[in-house]
Symmetry: D2
Subunit: 402 residues, 4 copies
């Protein structure tokens, strides 16, 4: 048992921490009050710096120009970058591209890799992932209305998707659609690459989320696929393999997210402590930090962040050791645990800031409202709790729990 | 002991419930996506209907054109109107005007009433209340930097305020400023009426709150008072009476807020239950409503809303029977209890809605982010908890708890 | 809406409060460390005093020698007496006799009343209620293994019951047994009066509960009915009416329990506050009461007790106005809400007492361990939550929720 | 980063798990219902088996006959043995002896080691630790009334201690007493070895804790020291070193306790899952395990146990790497976090068992009531929270937080 990190990672994390602190956090006021497209040119400059520091695309394969870090290594990266909403994007470690890169790498044909993977890792283009549908539970693979019907050498896609994050400005989408409705429930859907300029790919709107319509990378689109025709070569992976690929995509993806949330926790925790130290509450100069109620929150948040962090690192380690399937329980546990810890820490940090915490003069209110989604996407808390309980209970007598 | 409501109130509430449902809730999509000034003309039409129904200004004195309801009666009104963010404003029962009307009525001179109270109750103008300062704890009356210095027949006001809600578009502000820094700590500040077009009254910005700068009534301004000169006749109440008047303003004000929050709870609870019934989660047609985890939330929310509601009604009743001072403990208890119940109910309702709950396609996300402030304004949770505990502990031996 | 209590009740409660404080609480150290039978003679003396004060059997019919209080009146009594574990027993308002008296009064024949009800109200004998079975969920009326088979003019009862509280020393049991296994599920069981000296009524053991086997009134027996034969005249109410009578028994019974729990909350709250005031924690004489964490608990407990109390009073009032069936939702809500509030208050009170709280030198540890059962008996939290949610959800479209 | 355990430890833990399961858990019904002295002869037999397996005294020095495991290794042992209240005692890894052995080893003179340490490690005698006083906060070293005054070559000890666990049957006590009341506050007290048969060592009573007076090892004594005279050679460590030694004793001690609590969590979790699988709740054979509310508890408990476990292992590792002082924050975090996780898990496990959970027919009720002390002893939750928060806040600007 050894909790040490390698010297290499300590160096990398040190550089990233400093970059986030000095280069990205100062951009947040702009980020919070202006469209993202206004900020993009500045970010592009920062991305150049990142490339020069050789910290570009930390979790992507070396052969395509990434750093090729392992999952446990990338977990630490994700924690560091998570401190700012701009971190992952600037270092090119952002969802949904990170997941798309992974499956293109694993399942893409040479032609697909050439056309989509190379420029994507290189940051020349962006992509999106189009799976969730409005009226159907994301967690249930059978409940999908979007279809991709073979017509000659093409697939014709019809359906309505939403929460297709970052579609605005993306070059292509990876779409999940039913290709074989008669197959076994887990073999009905396939993944298909759809360039966003394909006729029939209609970005209906960027959905207003928490009062914010968003734009470009920071947006969540509703997409209407209307007789959207793509060549059959755009099939990603085997026909009927959509569910399996989606699962493959989710395991490490949850590590990325969870460690990003730990980064958010760390940031909010720092802001909370600093505010407690600075906020004078009585004429004799005493601060919030002298108040036991605040102290109790700080201690409780510290305990929960520590707990959550160790759990994610352990889950990442287990995936590396035994694969995502063996670590299924751990992955589900961190998915709901870390999301809830983050909500608690953000809530405390906001409360310590009082009225200021409600404003966009700090980053807390942004995290508070937008990261509420963490308990919902990639499987709601409840879905993971039930799944993990059934898996555990099965261990008690081998029978499945209905 | 009798929990019945009068027939009169049942009729009034029935009319209000229906109006909110039919006339206001349909306006919410517009409210959530457009500036409030765009919506204002429509609201003005609705306000005409309210006047015709003789439901205008329910808690304001009959002599000025209001309905003159008692506090317990108005509590029920506030619950009904609270279901929509547009309710109180449309019926002219909105903060901060409701509090300003109350203190103008109690402490205003005839001239002040003629000039400010009449048009305010009548809906011809709006007002704001300028007390909170950026770097100082709102809950500590001694910690105020804004000064109002006598100069001949005038007061000259200097200072910086923020969270002066609804200043954008208001006709006048009631400003809290130190008039006698040498006096006893609770006698240093006074209330002064300042027309918003007075030179030196500078609305610096509408503060972005939860990503939303807001406009007109739905905004929170930062105000810079720079040698802002008003005649001494604008003093509201006695010199040095600012703190006492503020207290007077807060007691019933908390009842209004708390019952508005109950209204929000009721709305969110309805949306949650309806969503649970409608949301199909498996191919055999089973809905979220069949899931025990959701059922547990519904039961727990029902219990908490019931608890919170009875507590507010009881506190209102006690204020009516014995005055706000005698009910100080009850007022503090509901302030933090109800705010926390609301947060819990909104959180559950959002979670039941899944991804939809994050969007502005329902009202839940608006409440979730903006009503987070309920645990902060008018005394943060912690301030009330400590206050109520000290009061209780005093009862155990009569000595004050430091 | 009126939260006042009548002068009559104020007088009665004042007398009871004083009696509990002066006569019963001083007996608790003995109660906590000795068998109850040792204490019984002293209690009998106290019961004489209660009779002389004309406070005997407060919720039992006047015609049988009780005070004949209404349900809302008795709620207040139960709160007062609940402060000590000896309260209800001393004033003869204790479960299970209170429920047995109620159903004997409602459903008993003249002969049954003469033989069982009279001496029971008068305190000459005690009774028990034998419904729960070991391996079967108490909340499901169909899952009952005990049978009562007609044989000539007798019933022959066979089965195993547990948690037959206070069987040790009781004169008779009211037993729930299946008389018609073929009937509709809610019509299979009946109530039968079984004198405890009937052959075949075997008190196997007093079950050790929380480390305490108990004796006499304070015990929970396991009973084995082996060919236990009683005359058919011992049937209480109609054949097949067992479930309906049990329901009848539970409604007001939950009010009694819930208000008793409020009494326990009040007691623990007082002890907590007093301890906080007295417990010196630093050489300069500062006490626990000066600590914000403790203050926060006190405020939170005060809020929850107030909430719980108003909910119970409201539920009692509603039962009186419209009957137990109409108040079903309210009854379920208080059942789990109040039990949880009590657990929270007891936990805080224990923690404030530190090591002392773990000992039997105060009453807190007794309540902490034994009242944990409140969340289980008469329907576990979860059973009530699901029931109340289904009832609420039904209101949203009229269809039953499976 | 590596979460693997050594093969050696896997083997040891495997043997211990099996022994606890096969040899100790079957003794629990006896343990729960009879005096411990009745059980002792059986335990002695089991201890012989432990010696034969060479698993005796796992955390004590090899030179004295123990296994000499490291702290992280012993953490795993404590988890395994913690599954039964009999585990630690049977393997001779029980508090308070484990702590006493540690400080005798570190600070004892050769004579003290010969006389006390040898037979103690060997299991020939037992010891107790006499620090806590009734009316004084255990966490404040200055607040101690017991004195040890030099008189010639002796110390004369006077004072009253309580919660001197396992004094009943112990051979000697290590007593904390003020030897120099004028010294700096952390240098006033010393540790002194007092044989229990010394005149003036009066065991007043075994304190009834949670209804249980206890006996022999399982007891908590009140001790009155009345002119209790011991030779000055009985001083353990330097004069005035009491506080420092007590701190030394507590660091690893908290690891032992916390991992024991994890063991309790594991046991309760197993019982909960098994019960959920076995408990039929409807005539069609469906069990509690099919209920989402129960599933949610299982998942939440699994997450919390995993979190708590990793935190303790990490803290133990950090103590090993950098010493107890460097790991002070981690030690405080686990102290309150693990104790609260245990309480939550036990509460859920009890609830899943329903009425059975209240009885002593399972071990849960024992843990539920007695392990409530975990949040109190060795520093109450609140003491650790405040300490950890102050330490963290200090990091934000270097100034101590008052």
């Amino acid at each position: 048992m050894d909790f040490n990190q390698s010297e290499k990672m300590q160096t990398i994390i040190g550089m990233m921490d400093e970059f986030v602190e000095k280069e990205l956090i100062p951009l947040e006021p702009l980020f919070l009050t202006r469209p993202f497209t206004e900020l993009l040119p500045v970010i592009k400059e920062k991305q150049k710096m990142v490339r020069q520091m050789e910290l570009w695309a930390p979790c992507h394969p070396k052969e395509y120009g990434g750093m090729g870090l392992s999952l446990t290594e990338h977990a630490l990266v994700s924690e560091s970058l998570g401190r700012s909403p701009l971190g992952h994007f600037t270092f090119w470690a952002q969802a949904p591209d990170v997941g798309n890169i992974e499956i293109l790498h694993m399942f893409g044909t040479d032609a697909q890799k050439e056309k989509y993977l190379h420029p994507l890792v290189n940051g020349d283009i962006r992509s999106c992932f189009s799976m969730t549908e409005v009226n159907l539970a994301g967690s249930n693979p059978v409940m999908m209305d979007t279809t991709a019907v073979r017509d000659g050498d093409d697939y014709i896609i019809n359906g309505q998707k939403w929460y297709t994050s970052s579609a605005d400005g993306a070059k292509f989408a990876i779409v999940m659609a039913k290709t074989d409705p008669e197959a076994d429930r887990y073999r009905q859907a396939s993944m298909i690459i759809v360039p966003c300029d394909t006729p029939g790919f209609n970005l209906v709107r960027n959905i207003p989320v928490m009062g914010h319509t968003g734009d470009d990378y920071f947006s969540h689109a509703e997409i209407l696929y209307q007789n959207c025709r793509v060549p059959k070569e755009n099939l990603l992976g085997p026909a009927g393999g959509g569910f399996a690929i989606a699962q493959e995509r989710l395991g490490p993806g949850r590590i990325h997210h969870c460690m990003r949330w730990i980064g958010i926790c760390n940031r909010a925790f720092d802001l909370m402590c600093a505010r407690a130290r600075d906020r004078v509450i009585s004429p004799d100069g005493r601060t919030l930090a002298t108040k036991q109620i605040i102290q109790a929150w700080i201690a409780e948040c510290a305990a929960e962040i520590q707990a959550a962090r160790l759990m994610v690192l352990h889950a990442a380690w287990r995936i590396e050791q035994e694969g995502a399937k063996a670590a299924r329980k751990e992955i589900s546990l961190i998915k709901f645990k870390v999301a809830n810890v983050m909500q608690m820490v953000l809530d405390c940090a906001l409360q310590v800031h009082g009225g200021l915490g409600m404003t966009d003069d700090t980053i807390i209110a942004f995290f508070f409202r937008h990261e509420r989604a963490a308990r919902i996407y990639d499987g709601a808390d409840e879905v993971h709790k039930v799944a993990v309980a059934k898996q555990i209970l099965r261990g008690y007598d081998g029978r499945p729990v209905k």
